[in-house]
C-alpha cells in the first residue's frame, strides 16, 4: 500500500500549498489595498527638467535666466533674427535692397515677389514667435510682481527689460501689420479674444511702457558687454518710436539723451569697426548663442562664389552709392564668376571661425544721428539737421551735404538712411512707408508690388481662431 501513502502525502501536500498560497494572496491583497486606499500611486514628482513658475522668480539666477532666454529667442527666431527668416533678409527682399537668387522653393521668394497671402506660413511664424516673445516678457513682469524674495534691484532690472522687450516687439508688429492687439498679460482667456487697437493706441502703450522702463533701468549695462538693454537703449527705442509717430521734438530730445552721453557712447569713425562687438557706438546688441560665435547675419548674407545662393544687393541699391562712398567698399562685397558680379552686404564679416568678433547690433549711434537730423529738419532746425547728417556722410568719406530746403534735406536723409542702415531689420521698408513713398518707389522696381502690400496680411488662422481680429488687412 505504498501507493496509498503517496496519495495521502500528496493530498496533504495540496492542502499545504493551498493554505500557504491563500496566506500569500492575503498578504498581496493587503499590500495592494493599503496602497490603493490612498491615491499616492498615481502622484508623480515634478520632472527634473522643469521648475514651477513661481519658483523661477524667487531666485535671482533663475529669474535672470527667464529674461535672457527671451533675448536668445529674439536672436534666433522671429522679427529680429539675423537668419534668413528674419526681417533683415525678408524685408530686404520685400523692398528694394535685395534680389533673390535662391531656390524657388525658398520661403523668401514670395517676399521678393510681394505675393504674400493670408495663409503664408512665414507670416504666421513671424506673428506667432513675436507674441510668444511678448508672452515671455509678460510672464517675467508678472513673475517679478508676484515674487516674495527677489531683491528690489533685480525686480527693477527685470521689469524694465521686460517692458522694453514688449514695446520693441509690438513696435515692429504694428509697422508690419497695422492695427494689432497690445498684449500686456499672460492670461490666455483675455489674449485669445484680444481686439485690434489703432496704431495710435499702440504707440501710446509703447511709450507708457518705455517711459516706465527708463525709470527702472540703470544707466550702466548689466554685464561687461552691451547685450542687455540699459536706460539708453530704451531712450534709443523711444526716440525711434516718436520719430515714427511724428513727434519730432520728443524724438530729438531722446536721441540727444543718448548722443550726449559721451562717457558711454563714442561715435566710431572707422567703418570697419562700427560692427565689432566692442564698438563704442553700439547701444544694444544680441550676443551669439555660443562662445566664439558670431552673427547669423554673416551666414545669411555672405557668399564666396556666384551666383548667390540666397540673396544679393540689388543693382538699383548699389547704384545709389556715390562713387566716393566708402561704405560701398567697407560694407558691401563684390563676388564675381568672371562675367557677372554680385554684391552682398558685408557689415558683418566674421563667420563661425571660433572666436567672437561681431554681435548682431540692434541699436547704434549712427541711427540716432539720423533720427535727430530728421526730427530737427521737421522742426525747422535745418542747420542742426545738416550737422547730424554730415556726421554720417563724413564718416562714409562724403562731403558735407549741399542741400538747402527742408524737403531737400529730408530727401537726403531718406537716401542716407538707405545707405547707412541697409539690411538692418527692414529700416528701408519702414522709411519708405513713413515718407509716403513706398508705392512711388517700389512700383518702379518691383513688378509684383501692389499698394496693399504696404501691410502684411494678418495670418489667416489668427482670424479663424480669434474673429475679433477681423477684418483682414485690405487687399488680402
Amino acid at each position: 500500500m505504498k501507493n496509498f501513502n503517496n496519495n495521502k502525502l500528496n493530498t496533504r501536500y495540496h492542502k499545504d500549498i493551498i493554505w500557504r498560497l491563500v496566506v500569500l494572496v492575503i498578504i498581496i491583497l493587503v499590500v495592494t489595498l493599503s496602497i490603493c486606499s490612498c491615491n499616492d500611486f498615481v502622484e508623480i514628482d515634478l520632472p527634473s527638467s522643469q521648475l514651477t513658475s513661481n519658483g523661477v522668480f524667487e531666485e535671482k539666477t533663475t529669474a535672470n535666466a527667464a529674461m535672457t532666454d527671451i533675448y536668445s529667442k529674439i536672436r534666433d527666431a522671429g522679427l529680429l533674427t539675423g537668419s534668413a527668416t528674419g526681417l533683415s533678409h525678408l524685408l530686404g527682399n520685400y523692398a528694394d535692397e535685395l534680389d533673390f537668387y535662391g531656390s524657388s522653393q525658398n520661403a523668401a521668394v514670395v517676399f521678393y515677389n510681394n505675393s504674400l497671402i493670408a495663409s503664408n506660413a512665414d507670416v504666421k511664424r513671424l506673428w506667432d514667435t513675436s507674441y510668444n516673445q511678448i508672452y515671455a516678457a509678460n510672464a517675467v513682469i508678472e513673475g517679478v510682481e508676484n515674487s516674495v524674495n527677489l531683491p528690489i534691484a533685480d525686480r527693477k532690472q527685470l521689469r524694465g527689460e521686460a517692458l522694453f522687450v514688449r514695446s520693441l516687439i509690438h513696435f515692429y508688429l504694428t509697422n508690419l501689420f497695422g492695427d494689432i492687439p497690445y498684449i500686456t498679460t499672460t492670461d490666455y482667456e483675455k489674449n485669445s479674444i484680444a481686439v485690434r487697437v489703432p496704431d495710435s493706441t499702440i504707440y501710446n502703450n509703447i511709450k507708457d511702457d518705455l517711459e516706465e522702463a527708463i525709470q527702472l533701468l540703470p544707466e550702466d549695462y548689466f554685464s561687461t558687454e552691451r547685450v542687455r538693454p540699459n536706460k539708453y537703449t530704451v531712450y534709443a527705442l523711444l526716440s525711434r518710436v516718436n520719430l515714427y509717430a511724428g513727434l519730432w521734438s520728443e524724438a530729438a530730445i531722446e536721441a540727444s539723451e543718448v548722443i550726449n552721453n559721451t562717457g558711454l557712447y563714442v561715435y566710431e569713425q572707422d567703418l570697419d569697426k562700427v560692427f565689432l562687438k566692442e564698438s563704442t557706438s553700439t547701444i544694444w546688441q544680441l550676443a551669439p548663442g555660443f562662445s566664439g560665435g558670431n552673427t547669423l547675419e554673416s551666414e545669411t548674407f555672405n557668399f564666396t562664389i556666384g551666383p548667390p545662393p540666397l540673396s544679393a544687393l540689388s543693382a538699383n541699391f548699389m547704384a545709389a552709392f556715390d562713387p566716393n562712398d566708402q561704405r560701398e567698399i567697407h560694407w558691401t562685397k563684390a563676388v564675381s564668376d568672371g562675367s557677372t558680379t554680385w554684391y552682398h552686404p558685408f557689415k558683418y564679416k566674421s563667420s563661425n571661425t571660433g572666436s567672437s568678433v561681431e554681435y548682431s547690433i540692434v541699436f547704434r549711434l549712427g541711427e540716432l544721428y539720423l533720427i535727430r537730423a530728421e526730427a530737427r529738419a521737421h522742426l525747422g532746425d535745418l542747420l542742426g539737421a545738416k550737422e547730424d547728417l554730415n556726421k554720417i556722410r563724413n564718416r562714409a568719406g562724403l562731403e558735407d551735404t549741399t542741400t538747402l530746403s527742408q524737403d531737400e534735406i529730408l530727401d537726403a536723409i531718406l537716401q542716407e538712411r538707405r545707405l547707412e542702415l541697409f539690411t538692418e531689420f527692414g529700416h528701408r521698408f519702414f522709411d519708405l512707408k513713413r515718407f509716403n513713398k513706398v508705392d512711388e518707389v517700389l512700383s518702379m522696381v518691383k513688378p509684383g508690388w501692389d499698394s496693399h502690400d504696404v501691410l502684411f496680411p494678418i495670418p489667416e488662422t489668427e482670424l479663424k481662431l480669434n474673429p475679433n481680429l477681423q477684418p483682414q488687412n485690405q487687399g488680402y
Partner: protein
C-alpha cells in the same frame, strides 16, 4: 520619497509572489509525477493514427478524460499513450469536431476527425482579461489570425490588418520603410488630432504606441516612427480588435479609441519541429504622375515671361535663359524614385515540448532597401522565445514570453518625392563625369545633395511578460500578469557641409548633426481573481483585478555644429558647438481596479457587466480617478425551441451593449505650471522658458458607446452574416484648444463641453462558396459605412474654432472657397464671392464644406484551395475625397514642372480652359488666385479607389517527412482609381507613396 517607497513596496510584494509560486509549484510537480507513476495500476499502451478526409493529421491533441495525461499525434498522425482500460480518450484539433472515444480495452484506436465548420462558433476569442466563446460573445470583436498575417510581404503589424476588419480604417503614411500608419477604430472621437490612437496590448501587457524620436530628426518620414514597428508580424498568432463598450470598458480610461490585442505564437507539444521561411521581393512606386516633357516645359516658361511682359529673361532663370541645355530631358520621377527596393525576409523557428511544457524559439530578419538612389536600407532582426508550462494536475499554468528586436533604419535626410515632381525637366545631369555631384556652375540645386546627409535610426526593444495562474479550487482561479518592456531609440540626422552648393564656400565648420536619444521603460503588474460557478441553469463567471503600471521615459535631443572634419560628424566631441534642444524625463503612473460579472443562462441568454476604476498621473490632484463601465447582453435566438432544428438558419444571435470608456492621451505633466530649460545660451546664461499655458483643472474625456448587432448563419454555416450598428459619443473633450498666436502659444489643454458622434454600420459576410475534398472557396466581405458628426460645441460661433468646425458636420471638414473656373478675360482662377464684397477673402468666402472622412470602406477577401494549391487575394476599397495633384506644384509658368493637364490652359481672352494663364510669378493676380485655388474645392477631387491589396499563391510540394511550400505574394498589386495624384491611399502629400511589393519564397518545416 514616500511615493518611491510605495513603488518599491509593490515591487517587493511581487517578488515573493512570483518566487513563491515557482517554489511551491515546482516541488509540487516533482511530487505529482511520483504520484502519477504509482497510481496507475492496469496500464495499457494505446496507439493509432489520426486522420482527416485528406489523410494523416499531425498535431492532434489526445488527452485522457479526467486525467492529466495527454499526448499529440506526430507528423504521420501517429500517437501512442499509456492509459488504463476504463479510460476515455478525447481527440481535439482546431477546426475539427472533437471526438470522444472510450478505450474499452483496445490497444489500437484509429480515428478520423471531421472538419467542423460550426467550430467557428466554438473558437475562443481573446477579450483581454478573459476569453469568450465566439457564440457567447456579447461584445464587438474583430479578429485576424496568423494564416492571414503570414501571407503578406509587409513588416508592419498594422499593414496586415488593412482592409480585413470592419470598422478599422488604416492608412499608410509613407512608402519609406520604418514609417508609420494611421489607424482609426470607428472614427475620430477626440478633437485632439493625436488623441485617437487605440490601446495596444501585447500578450496582456500594454504597449505605449506614442511615437518615438523627435519630429525634427526624421524629416524623411511624415510622422515620427511608431514603436509598433518592432513587432514582427510573423510572430503574431492573432490580432483581436475590441470595438464596443462591452469589450473596451474593462480598459476604462484607455478604451475610448478601441483596443488592439496582439497575441504572439506559442509552442505546440509534439516532436521537435523546425520551420524556416525565406522570401525575396521587390518594391516599386505604384504609379508616377504625367508631367511635362522638356519642349512643353520650355514653351510654358517662355509663354510665362511673355505674359509677364518680361522680354529679357532674368539671369537666374537658368532653365530658359540659355544656361541650361534646353533640349535635355530627364524623367526626374524615374531618376529619383524609380529604383527597386529589395525586400528580404528570413524567419526560422523551433518548437516542441511535452504535454506539460512547450516552447517556441524563433528568429527573423527583414531587410528593405529603398527606391531612392544611394545605399539606404531598413533592417530588422528579432528573436522571440515562448515557454508554456502547466503542472500535471493542470492547476498551475505559466506562460513566459520574451521578444527582442533590433531595428536599424538608414534613409536619406529628406524624402525626394516633392523634388522629383517639381524639378525642371531640362535640369542638368546629377553627376559630373568624374562622379562628383554636378552643381552646373552653381546654377543647379542638385537634389542629390540631400543624399549627402543621412537619417539613421536605431531602435532596440524588449518585451517580456509572465502569466501565472493557479486553480485554487474548482471555482476559483488566481491569475497574475507581469510585464516589462524597454525601448531605446537613437536617431541622427547628419547635415554635412558637402550637401551645400560649393559656391557657399562652406567647410566642415558648417556641418551639423541632430542627435537624439529616447529611452522608455515600463512595467505592469496585474493580479486577478476569477470565480466561476454554476447557479441554477446558468453559469456565472466573475473576475476582479487590479493594475499597477509605471512608465518612464527620457529624451535627449542635441544639435551640434562646427565640426573639425566631416568624417567626425557623428562625434559630438568634435563639434565646436553643442546645443541641447530637448532634455526631458517623463513619468506616467497608472492604477486601476477592474471587474467583470457574466451570467450565461443555458447558453441562450447572456449578460456581461464590466467596470473599471482608473487613476492616472496625467491629471492634477482631485482629477486623477474616474469610473467606467458597460453592460452587454446577448440572446441566441437560434437556440429557442421555435428555431431549433431549423434547416435554413443554423445560428442566430442578437446582442447589444452600452457603456462608458475614457481617454487620457494628453501627454504627461500637462496640468503643471512650469518653466523648463531652453538649452540656449545668452551672455553665458542658459535660458529658462515657460513650458506651456497651464490649466490644472482638466479631467477625463468620456466616450459613451452603444452597439446593436445581429449575427446569423445559414445553411449549416455556409453563409455567415453579421450586421452591427454603433453610435459612439465623446464628450468632455480633452483638447489642446487651439489658441490664436496672440496668447503666446498655439494651444491650451482643457475640457471642452463638446460632443462628437461616430455612428456607423458594419457588415461582414463570410460565405463558403464551394467545399469538397479537393477544392474549397471561402469569401469574406466587410464594409463599414460611417459618419462622424460634431453634435454640440458650446459657443462655437464665438470660440476659437468658429471657422474650423460646423455643428452637424464631421470634424474632418475643410471650409474652402468655391472654385468657379478660369476667368475667360484674364486667365486667372476665380472663386465665388459669397458675401459679395468684391474681394475673395478668407473667412466669409470659404463657405464650401468638404468632408475628408471616407464615406465607406472595406475589403473583399477570397481563399481558394485546390489540393496542394492555395490562392488568397484581398481587394480593399475606399470611397473618399482628397487633395489632388495640384498641391505638389508651383504656379504654372514658374520654375517648377507641371502635370501635362496644364497644357490645356488659358492663352488669350475668350479662352475657356481648366488651367490658368502662365506666369513666372509677376502676375500677382494670377499668383494670388493660384494659391487661393489650393484652398478651394477645385483642388479637392475624388480619391476613391479599389486596390488589389494583397495576393498570395502557394503550393505545398508533396514530400515525405518534410513539409515544403513555395509561395508568391504581392502587396498593392493593382489600383483602380480616377485620382490624379501620386497614390489615392495615403494622405501625406510630398512623401513617397506606399510601394507595390512582389515577393516569392519558400517555407519548409520538419
Amino acid at each position: 520619497m514616500k511615493k518611491k517607497s510605495i513603488n518599491k513596496a509593490i515591487k517587493i510584494a511581487m517578488y515573493p509572489f512570483i518566487l513563491g509560486c515557482y517554489l511551491f509549484f515546482s516541488t509540487g510537480q516533482a511530487r505529482n509525477r511520483l504520484h502519477i507513476l504509482n497510481f496507475q495500476q492496469q496500464k495499457l499502451q494505446v496507439s493509432g493514427t489520426v486522420t482527416d478526409i485528406n489523410g494523416e493529421l499531425p498535431g492532434v491533441s489526445i488527452i485522457v478524460q479526467g486525467k492529466s495525461t495527454g499526448t499529440v499525434s506526430n507528423l504521420n498522425g501517429f500517437y501512442t499513450i499509456e492509459v488504463t482500460v476504463k479510460d476515455t480518450l478525447i481527440f481535439s484539433y482546431l477546426g475539427y469536431k472533437t471526438k470522444v472515444v472510450p478505450i474499452n480495452g483496445r490497444s489500437q484506436i484509429n480515428v478520423q476527425l471531421q472538419e467542423d465548420l460550426t467550430t467557428l462558433q466554438e473558437v475562443h476569442i481573446n477579450a483581454g482579461y478573459y476569453a469568450v466563446k465566439e457564440s457567447e460573445r456579447t461584445g464587438s470583436i474583430s479578429k485576424i489570425t496568423s494564416s492571414a498575417i503570414e501571407k503578406q510581404p509587409v513588416s508592419d503589424v498594422l499593414a496586415t490588418m488593412q482592409g480585413r476588419m470592419a470598422g478599422v480604417n488604416i492608412t499608410q503614411t509613407t512608402g519609406v520603410p520604418g514609417g508609420g500608419f494611421d489607424i482609426q477604430i470607428r472614427g475620430q472621437n477626440s478633437l485632439r488630432a493625436n488623441g485617437n490612437s487605440p490601446l495596444y496590448i501585447i500578450n496582456g501587457v500594454p504597449y505605449a504606441s506614442d511615437p518615438i524620436g523627435t519630429g525634427i530628426n526624421s524629416a524623411v518620414l511624415p510622422t515620427q516612427p511608431s514603436p509598433l514597428n518592432s513587432i514582427n508580424p510573423d510572430q503574431i498568432e492573432s490580432i483581436e480588435v475590441l470595438k464596443d463598450a462591452d469589450a473596451t470598458a474593462i480598459y476604462g480610461s484607455r478604451g475610448a479609441n478601441g483596443v488592439v490585442l496582439i497575441t504572439t505564437k506559442k509552442g505546440a507539444s509534439g516532436t521537435l519541429k523546425f520551420t524556416s521561411n525565406f522570401s525575396q521581393g521587390m518594391g516599386k512606386v505604384t504609379r508616377f504622375m504625367d508631367l511635362l516633357k522638356t519642349p512643353e516645359y520650355i514653351a510654358m516658361r517662355k509663354e510665362a515671361y511673355a505674359n509677364d511682359g518680361i522680354s529679357t529673361i532674368p539671369s537666374y532663370a537658368y532653365d530658359v535663359n540659355g544656361i541650361w541645355d534646353q533640349n535635355r530631358y530627364t524623367n526626374w520621377q524615374k531618376e529619383l524614385l524609380g529604383g527597386t527596393a529589395d525586400v528580404t525576409n528570413v524567419q526560422s523557428s523551433l518548437s516542441g515540448g511535452s504535454a506539460q511544457t512547450q516552447f517556441l524559439l524563433s528568429g527573423s530578419y527583414n531587410k528593405q532597401t529603398t527606391v531612392f538612389l544611394g545605399d539606404f536600407a531598413y533592417k530588422k532582426g528579432n528573436v522571440y522565445l515562448n515557454v508554456n508550462h502547466e503542472s500535471e494536475n493542470r492547476k498551475f499554468k505559466t506562460n513566459v514570453s520574451v521578444g527582442y528586436t533590433v531595428q536599424n533604419n538608414n534613409q536619406p535626410r529628406v524624402d525626394m518625392m516633392r523634388e522629383a515632381v517639381s524639378i525642371a525637366p531640362n535640369a542638368p545631369a546629377l553627376y559630373k563625369e568624374d562622379g562628383t555631384l554636378n552643381w552646373e556652375n552653381n546654377t543647379f540645386n542638385n537634389p542629390l545633395s540631400n543624399l549627402e546627409g543621412t537619417y539613421e535610426a536605431k531602435t532596440n526593444d524588449m518585451i517580456a511578460n509572465i502569466n501565472l495562474s493557479y486553480q485554487l479550487t474548482d471555482d476559483l482561479q488566481l491569475k497574475s500578469s507581469i510585464g516589462y518592456s524597454t525601448l531605446s531609440n537613437k536617431e541622427t540626422t547628419a547635415n554635412p557641409s558637402t550637401r551645400y552648393n560649393p559656391a557657399w564656400g562652406l567647410g566642415s565648420e558648417y556641418s551639423s548633426l541632430i542627435a537624439s536619444r529616447a529611452d522608455r521603460e515600463s512595467w505592469i503588474f496585474e493580479p486577478q481573481l476569477n470565480w466561476n460557478k454554476t447557479i441554477g441553469k446558468g453559469k456565472l463567471k466573475t473576475l476582479v483585478g487590479a493594475t499597477y503600471q509605471s512608465q518612464k521615459g527620457n529624451q535627449l535631443v542635441q544639435y551640434a555644429s562646427g565640426f573639425t572634419s566631416n568624417s567626425l560628424i557623428y562625434n559630438l566631441a568634435s563639434a565646436s558647438n553643442v546645443y541641447t534642444l530637448v532634455s526631458e524625463e517623463t513619468e506616467y503612473k497608472y492604477q486601476a481596479f477592474f471587474g467583470r460579472i457574466n451570467y450565461n443562462w443555458q447558453e441562450k441568454y447572456m449578460v456581461n457587466l464590466t467596470g473599471r476604476r482608473d487613476g492616472s498621473s496625467r491629471f492634477g490632484s482631485g482629477k486623477q480617478f474616474a469610473n467606467f463601465g458597460a453592460v452587454g447582453v446577448a440572446w441566441l435566438f437560434s437556440k429557442e425551441r421555435f428555431l431549433e432544428n431549423n434547416t435554413i438558419l443554423s445560428f442566430g444571435k442578437l446582442r447589444a451593449s452600452y457603456g462608458i470608456t475614457g481617454n487620457d492621451q494628453i501627454g504627461d505633466y500637462q496640468y503643471l505650471d512650469t518653466y523648463a530649460s531652453s538649452g540656449v545660451n545668452y551672455d553665458g546664461v542658459i535660458g529658462l522658458q515657460p513650458t506651456r499655458l497651464f490649466n490644472p483643472e482638466f479631467g477625463w474625456e468620456t466616450n459613451k458607446k452603444l452597439e446593436v448587432a445581429l449575427e446569423t448563419s445559414f445553411l449549416n454555416e455556409h453563409i455567415f452574416l453579421t450586421a452591427a450598428w454603433y453610435n459612439n459619443r465623446s464628450s468632455n473633450q480633452l483638447t489642446g484648444i487651439s489658441l490664436p498666436g496672440t496668447t503666446g502659444f498655439s494651444s491650451i489643454q482643457s475640457n471642452l463641453d463638446a460632443v462628437v458622434q461616430n455612428r456607423g454600420v458594419e457588415l461582414t459576410l463570410r460565405t463558403v462558396n464551394l467545399k469538397n475534398n479537393d477544392f474549397s472557396w471561402i469569401s469574406n466581405f466587410n464594409i463599414t459605412i460611417s459618419r462622424n458628426k460634431l453634435i454640440k460645441f458650446p459657443d462655437l460661433e464665438s470660440s476659437t474654432y468658429a471657422n474650423q468646425y460646423v455643428i452637424g458636420q464631421p470634424l474632418n471638414i475643410q471650409k474652402v472657397y468655391h472654385y468657379t473656373g478660369v476667368d475667360p478675360q484674364t486667365g486667372v482662377y476665380t472663386f465665388e464671392d459669397v458675401n459679395g464684397d468684391g474681394i475673395i477673402s478668407g473667412i466669409e468666402d470659404k463657405t464650401t464644406l468638404r468632408d475628408f472622412n471616407p464615406k465607406y470602406f472595406g475589403g473583399f477577401q477570397n481563399q481558394l484551395k485546390y489540393k496542394n494549391w492555395q490562392l488568397d487575394f484581398l481587394f480593399q476599397f475606399v470611397k473618399q475625397i482628397n487633395y489632388n495633384s495640384t498641391l505638389f506644384f508651383g504656379v504654372p509658368g514658374s520654375q517648377s514642372n507641371q502635370p501635362t493637364a496644364v497644357l490645356n490652359h488659358w492663352q488669350q481672352a475668350g479662352d475657356i480652359a481648366p488651367y490658368p494663364i502662365y506666369t513666372d510669378g509677376n502676375n500677382s493676380a494670377a499668383v494670388d488666385a493660384y494659391y487661393k485655388y489650393f484652398e478651394s474645392d477645385g483642388a479637392i477631387s475624388d480619391a476613391s479607389f479599389v486596390r488589389l491589396k494583397n495576393i498570395s499563391l502557394s503550393y505545398n510540394i508533396p514530400l515525405k517527412d518534410i513539409q515544403c511550400m513555395v509561395f508568391f505574394e504581392g502587396q498593392n498589386v493593382l489600383t483602380f482609381t480616377k485620382y490624379d495624384g501620386a497614390d489615392p491611399e495615403f494622405k501625406s502629400a510630398g512623401y513617397l507613396p506606399p510601394l507595390r511589393i512582389l515577393s516569392a519564397g519558400v517555407k519548409f518545416s520538419f
